[in-house]
C-alpha cells in the first residue's frame, strides 16, 4: 500500500506545517491592528488558515484508486 503510506506522510507534514503556521513567530506577523477586507487582520489570517487546512485534509483524503469502502 504505497499510496496509503504516502497519504499518512502528507498528513503528518500538513499537521507540522499547521502547528508552525499558527504559532510564534509566524502568527506574530499578523498580530496587527489593521483591517483586511473589513475584518481584523489576525482574525482574517486564522480563519483563512483554518479553511485552507480543512481543504488540504479533504484533498489528501480524497478517495484514491484502490481504497476500500
Amino acid at each position: 500500500m504505497p499510496m496509503m503510506k504516502r497519504r499518512k506522510e502528507r498528513l503528518v507534514v500538513l499537521a507540522v506545517l499547521g502547528v508552525l503556521a499558527i504559532n510564534y513567530p509566524l502568527i506574530a506577523l499578523f498580530s496587527q491592528e489593521r483591517m483586511v477586507l473589513g475584518v481584523p487582520m489576525l482574525w482574517f489570517y486564522l480563519f483563512v488558515f483554518w479553511l485552507g487546512f480543512v481543504v488540504s485534509i479533504a484533498l489528501i483524503m480524497r478517495r484514491q484508486h484502490g481504497d476500500k469502502g
Binding site: 502547528v19 483591517m35 475584518v39
Partner: protein
C-alpha cells in the same frame, strides 16, 4: 403564564425529543438498519467536543481575551490531520482487544494491569468531574438568565423560582437517559446506537442555534462584519482584542492551549468513547478528519463578532460575557431566537454530560468497582451480568450526583473557561502513555504508572490545588508563599520558574515529569511476559501474524464447560452458549463439554470477558478458573521467539518452494523442447545420411561399371559419366542446402533487410531461370504492376525463393506443352507472388507435406534417368525464409490440374 414555566417545560419537551430520537435509532439498529454506520453521523457525534463551554464560554473568553478562545479549536483541527495516522491505529487495537474505555486501553497495553486501570479511572474522575459540574452549571445559569431577562423584558416578573434547583432535575433526566441508552447490554464494545444518534442530533441543534444567533447579531444588530469590526476598532478598549495583546500569557499560553486541546480531543473520556468505542468503520475517519474541523470552523466563525457586539452594546458593563449569546437576542427583541439559543446551549451541555457519564461509568465499573468486588467476593458464583448492569446504572447516578455536588460547591467561584482548561490539562497526562505506548514496545507498566503518577501530582499541585486556593478552599498563602511556606514549591512558580502563565507552567512541568519518568523507567525496567505480549500486540497491530500472542498466556488446564460457566456469569448463559457455538463453528472445532479447552479458546473467552468487565478484571477472572502454572517469562518468550522464527522460516520456505516450483516448470518445458529437438535431429541425420547415400550409391555404381567394362561403347560411357556428374552436382546442392537450413534453424543465418522492389526481384529470378524454360520449351508469362512494389526484405533470399519455385514449376511441366504463369499480387495484408504451372498437380494428401524436409512427390523423377529431381529441401528452405519475413507460403492444387505455389509477405516484417 410566566417564563418560569414555559422554559423548563420546553426543556423537558426537548429532552423528550432526544429520548425519541435515541429510541428510534435503537429500534432501527435492532432491525439491522444502522443509522450510525455513516461518516456524517460519526463526525457529528465527535462534535460532542463542543460543550456549553464552547457555546457560552468561548464568547465570554473572546470578550476578554480576543482570539484567546481559538486554541481550544485550532488544536483539534490540527489533530484531525493526524487521525488517519493515530486514530486508525488506536481503533484497530481497541477492536482487536475489545477495549471499551481509555482506562482499559492503558491497563491493557501495560500487561492488563488492574492497578493502572484503577489509577487512570481515578484520575479521570478527579479531572473530569468538574467539567460535568460545569455543564450542569451552564444549564442552570442559562435557564435562570433566560427566565430573568425574559420576564424583565416582557415585564412579567413572577414570584420566586417554583422549580427550586434546575440543575438537579437536569442531572436526573440525563442520568435516566444515560441509563436507558448507555447500559442496555453488558458488552460495552457493542455500540450505543441510540445514544450516538441523539448526540449527532444535538450537534446539529447546537451548531444551528449558534449560527442563527451569530447571523442575527452580525447582520441584524449590526450591518455585517465590516460595520461590527469597524465600530469595535473605534473603541480603544476593544481594539486590543484584535491582536495578541489581549491574550493572557501571550504566545506561550497560545501554544500550550493548542497542545492540550490537541490531546484532549483524542483522550477526553467522551471523545475516546465516540471516536474509538462507537466507531463502526475506521474508513469513516476519512470524512471525519476534514468535516469535523469544518464543523469547528463554522462554530467559531461568530464567536468574536458576538463577543464584540456584546461589549459594544453593554458597554456599561455588569453583564456576564458568558451570557451574551443568550441576552443579545432578547435585546434584539427576538424572544424565539433566544429560546432556540437556550435549547442549543442545552444540547451542548446535555450531549457532553451523557457521553461523558456513560464513558466514565464503564471505566468506574470495570476498573474500580469490579476488581474490588471480585477480589473480596471472588468465591461467589451466581450470574453476575444483572448485578454488573445494576452497578453501572448506580455509578451513572452517583457520577451525576457528584457532578451536581461539585457544582454546588464551586458555586460562582469559577468562570466556565478555567474549569475546562483544568480538565484538558488532566487528560493530557494520558497522552504520553498512549501515544508513546503504541509506537514503542519498551514502555513498561511501572514506567506508565510512574509517568502518570508524576504527571498527575504536578497537575494537581500546579492547577487543581492552585484553583482551590483561588476559590478560597485552601489558604491563599498556598499560592503566594508555597505549601508550608516552601517557596520553590509555589504552585505557579515551581522551582522558581515564573516565566510562563499558570497553564503553560503547569503543562510544561507536568508533561516533563510525565514523559521523563515514563522514558527513564522504561529504559531500566524489565517487562513481564504479559506486558511484552501486550506491547507487541499494540505496537504491531497492523502486522499480519504478529497478533495472537495472547494464546501463549494460558498454559494451565480448564475444561470447556468451566470456561463457558465463567463467561455466562458475566454475559448471561444464553449469550455465552451462543458465543461459544459461534467460535467453535468459526474455528471448525468440535469439543466435548468436559474436554480441556485449547489455549486459543481460553484467549477468546478472556477477550469476550474484556468487552464486559475490562481487561484487568477479565484476566483475573480467567486465571481464577485456569489451574496449573502460568508460563514464566522465559517460557513465554521462548515460545514467542520460536513461533516467530518458525513463522518467518516457514514463510521463507514457502517462498523458496514457490520459486522452485516455477523453476521446475520451466526446466520441464525446456527439457521437453530439448527432447523434441533431439528427436528431430536424429530423424534429420538419418534422413540426411539416407539422402546423401542415394546419389553416392549411384555415383559409385556407375563408376564401378565404367572401371570394370573397358570395352563399353562411347555412347554408354558418355551417358554414365553424365549421370555421375549430375549426381555429384545434386550431392553438392544437397550439402549446400543442408548447410543453409542448418544455419537458418540455428538462427545463425544473417539477414540483410532493406527496401527492395518485389517486381525487380521477380524479374531477376525469371532471368536467372530463363535457360531452364528454354531447354524444356516451357512457356513463361509474367503479370505484374507497372510500378515498383516496395517492401522490406532480404533481397538475395527472396530471389532464392522465387528461383526455387520457378525451377520446381518447370521441373514438373511437360516439355513443349508446359506453361508457367507468374503473378505479383498486392492485397491488404501485404504483397506476394503466385507461380502457377499446368503440371500433373499434387495429391491432396501431399499438399501439407511438400514443405517438409526431404519430402519428394513421387512424380518428381527424371523420366530419362529415373533419378529424383530435387533434394527435398528447397521448399523447406523457402518456407523458412518466408516465415522469417513474417509471411506465409502455401500451395493449392488438385491432381491433374497443375499446382499453384503462393507466398504472401507483409510490407515491413519489423525486426
Amino acid at each position: 403564564m410566566s417564563w418560569q414555566w414555559i422554559v423548563p417545560l420546553m426543556s423537558i419537551a426537548y429532552l423528550g425529543l432526544l429520548f425519541a430520537v435515541a429510541y428510534h435509532a435503537d429500534r432501527q439498529a435492532a432491525r439491522g438498519r444502522s443509522l450510525v454506520n455513516n461518516p456524517t453521523i460519526y463526525t457529528l457525534s465527535i462534535a460532542v467536543y463542543c460543550t456549553s463551554w464552547t457555546y457560552y464560554g468561548s464568547v465570554g473568553r473572546a470578550a476578554e481575551t480576543g482570539i484567546g478562545f481559538l486554541p481550544i479549536f485550532l488544536g483539534p483541527t490540527i489533530m484531525a490531520a493526524l487521525w488517519w495516522q493515530l486514530l486508525t491505529k488506536i481503533i484497530a487495537i481497541s477492536k482487536a482487544n475489545h477495549i471499551t474505555s481509555i482506562a482499559d486501553f492503558i491497563a491493557s497495553r501495560f500487561g492488563k494491569s488492574p492497578v493502572l486501570g484503577g489509577m487512570v479511572t481515578l484520575f479521570v474522575v478527579i479531572g473530569v468531574l468538574p467539567y460535568i459540574a460545569l455543564q450542569l452549571k451552564a444549564v442552570a445559569v442559562s435557564l435562570d438568565v433566560l427566565v430573568h431577562h425574559l420576564d424583565d423584558f416582557l415585564d412579567m416578573r413572577g414570584s420566586s423560582n417554583p422549580w427550586g434547583d434546575t440543575a438537579l432535575y437536569v442531572a436526573m433526566i440525563l442520568a435516566l437517559f444515560s441509563i436507558l441508552f448507555g447500559t442496555r447490554h453488558l458488552d460495552a464494545s457493542e455500540r450505543h446506537e441510540g445514544m450516538v444518534t441523539a448526540i449527532a442530533f444535538e450537534s446539529i441543534v447546537k451548531l444551528g442555534a449558534f449560527l442563527f444567533v451569530g447571523l442575527f447579531v452580525t447582520f441584524g444588530l449590526f450591518d455585517g462584519f465590516g460595520d461590527l469590526f469597524g465600530k469595535a476598532m473605534a473603541d480603544p478598549a476593544l481594539q486590543r482584542l484584535m491582536t495578541f495583546e489581549a491574550m493572557p500569557g501571550g504566545f506561550a499560553a497560545w501554544f500550550s492551549m493548542t497542545l492540550i486541546a490537541m490531546l484532549a480531543v483524542m483522550f477526553l473520556p467522551r471523545q475516546f468513547q465516540v471516536l474509538v468505542v462507537e466507531n463502526v468503520n475506521p474508513v469513516h475517519i476519512r470524512q471525519a478528519s476534514w468535516l469535523f474541523p469544518l464543523y469547528l470552523l463554522a462554530f467559531n466563525l461568530f464567536v468574536l463578532p458576538i463577543a464584540l457586539a456584546g461589549r459594544l452594546l453593554f458597554s456599561g458593563g455588569g453583564m456576564d460575557p458568558d451570557t451574551f449569546v443568550l441576552i443579545l437576542p432578547i435585546q434584539g427583541n427576538q424572544v424565539w431566537l433566544a429560546l432556540f439559543v437556550y435549547l442549543g446551549g442545552l444540547s451542548a451541555a446535555t450531549s457532553m454530560v451523557i457521553v461523558e457519564v456513560i464513558a466514565m461509568s464503564t471505566m468506574v465499573s470495570n476498573d474500580l468497582v469490579l476488581p474490588l468486588l471480585l477480589r473480596f467476593r471472588a468465591a461467589f458464583r451466581e450470574d453476575l451480568s444483572g448485578i454488573i448492569l445494576t452497578i453501572r446504572r448506580g455509578i451513572i447516578i452517583a457520577l451525576m450526583l457528584l457532578g451536581y455536588l461539585y457544582f454546588r460547591l464551586i458555586g460562582e467561584s469559577h468562570t466556565l473557561v478555567s474549569i475546562g482548561i483544568i480538565s484538558f490539562a488532566a487528560v493530557a497526562q494520558f497522552a504520553p502513555a498512549i501515544l508513546i505506548g503504541i509506537y514503542w514496545q519498551g514502555v513498561s507498566r511501572r514506567a506508565a504508572m510512574g509517568g502518570l503518577m508524576a504527571g498527575f501530582i504536578v497537575w494537581s499541585h500546579t492547577l487543581l490545588f492552585a484553583s482551590f486556593a483561588k476559590s478560597g478552599w485552601i489558604a491563599g498563602s498556598f499560592l503566594t508563599h508555597g505549601p508550608w511556606g516552601i517557596a520553590w514549591l509555589k504552585p505557579q512558580a515551581l522551582f522558581g520558574l515564573s516565566l510562563f502563565d499558570p497553564l503553560t507552567h503547569s503543562v510544561f512541568w507536568s508533561l516533563l515529569a510525565n514523559i521523563g519518568t515514563l522514558v527513564l523507567i522504561s529504559l531500566f525496567d524489565r517487562q513481564t511476559a504479559v506486558e511484552q505480549i501486550q506491547a507487541l500486540n499494540f505496537v504491531n497491530v497492523f502486522e499480519k501474524g504478529a497478533r495472537g500472542g495472547n494464546e501463549y498466556l494460558w498454559s494451565g488446564f480448564v475444561s470447556v464447560s468451566e470456561l463457558k460457566k465463567l463467561l455466562s456469569r458475566f454475559v448471561g448463559p444464553a449469550q455465552a452458549e451462543l458465543d461459544f457455538a459461534n467460535y467453535m463453528q468459526h474455528r471448525l472445532l468440535n469439543l466435548e463439554e468436559h474436554a480441556q479447552a485449547p489455549a486459543h479458546l481460553v484467549a477468546f473467552a478472556e477477550k469476550r470477558l474484556t468487552g464486559a468487565i475490562g481487561s484487568a478484571s477479565a484476566r483475573v477472572m480467567v486465571s481464577s478458573v485456569v489451574t496449573g502454572e502460568e508460563l514464566d517469562l522465559h517460557g513465554v518468550m521462548r515460545i514467542l521467539d520460536e513461533t516467530s522464527q518458525v513463522i518467518e522460516y516457514s514463510q521463507r520456505l514457502e517462498l523458496k518452494s514457490r520459486q522452485l516450483e516455477a523453476a521446475t516448470c520451466k526446466l520441464q518445458e525446456v527439457n521437453e523442447r530439448l527432447q523434441e529437438l533431439d528427436r528431430l535431429k536424429d530423424e534429420f541425420i538419418s534422413t540426411v545420411s539416407h539422402e546423401l547415400r542415394t546419389p553416392l550409391t549411384s555415383i559409385r555404381a556407375f563408376s564401378e561399371i565404367l572401371r570394370d567394362n573397358e570395352e563399353m561403347d562411347l555412347g554408354d560411357r558418355r551417358r554414365f559419366t553424365e549421370i555421375i556428374i549430375k549426381e555429384a552436382e545434386r550431392l553438392t546442392r544437397l550439402v549446400n542446402q543442408i548447410l543453409d537450413l542448418a544455419k537458418i534453424e540455428s538462427g545463425k543465418m544473417e539477414w540483410h533487410l532493406e527496401r527492395v522492389d518485389l517486381v525487380e526481384i521477380a524479374r531477376d529470378a525469371i532471368d536467372a531461370t530463363h535457360q531452364l524454360f528454354e531447354n524444356k520449351s516451357v512457356r513463361l508469362s509474367f503479370h505484374a504492376p507497372s510500378y515498383p512494389v516496395m517492401l522490406r526484405a532480404d533481397r538475395d533470399k527472396i530471389i532464392q525463393v522465387v528461383i526455387n519455385l520457378l525451377s520446381n514449376a518447370v521441373k514438373f511441366c511437360e516439355a513443349s506443352i508446359g506453361a508457367v504463369e507468374v503473378h505479383l499480387r498486392q492485397v491488404p495484408e501485404g504483397v506476394g507472388i503466385e507461380v502457377v504451372d499446368n503440371g500433373p498437380g499434387i495429391p491432396k494428401d501431399d499438399l501439407e507435406k511438400v514443405f517438409e524436409k526431404f519430402h519428394q512427390v513421387d512424380q518428381a523423377r527424371d523420366e530419362t534417368m529415373d533419378v529424383p529431381l530435387g533434394t527435398g529441401l528447397g521448399l523447406t528452405i523457402c518456407q523458412r525464409i518466408i516465415e522469417r519475413h513474417r509471411g506465409r507460403i502455401w500451395v493449392e492444387s488438385a491432381l491433374g490440374q497443375g499446382a499453384t505455389f503462393k507466398f504472401l509477405m507483409p510490407l515491413d516484417p519489423g525486426e
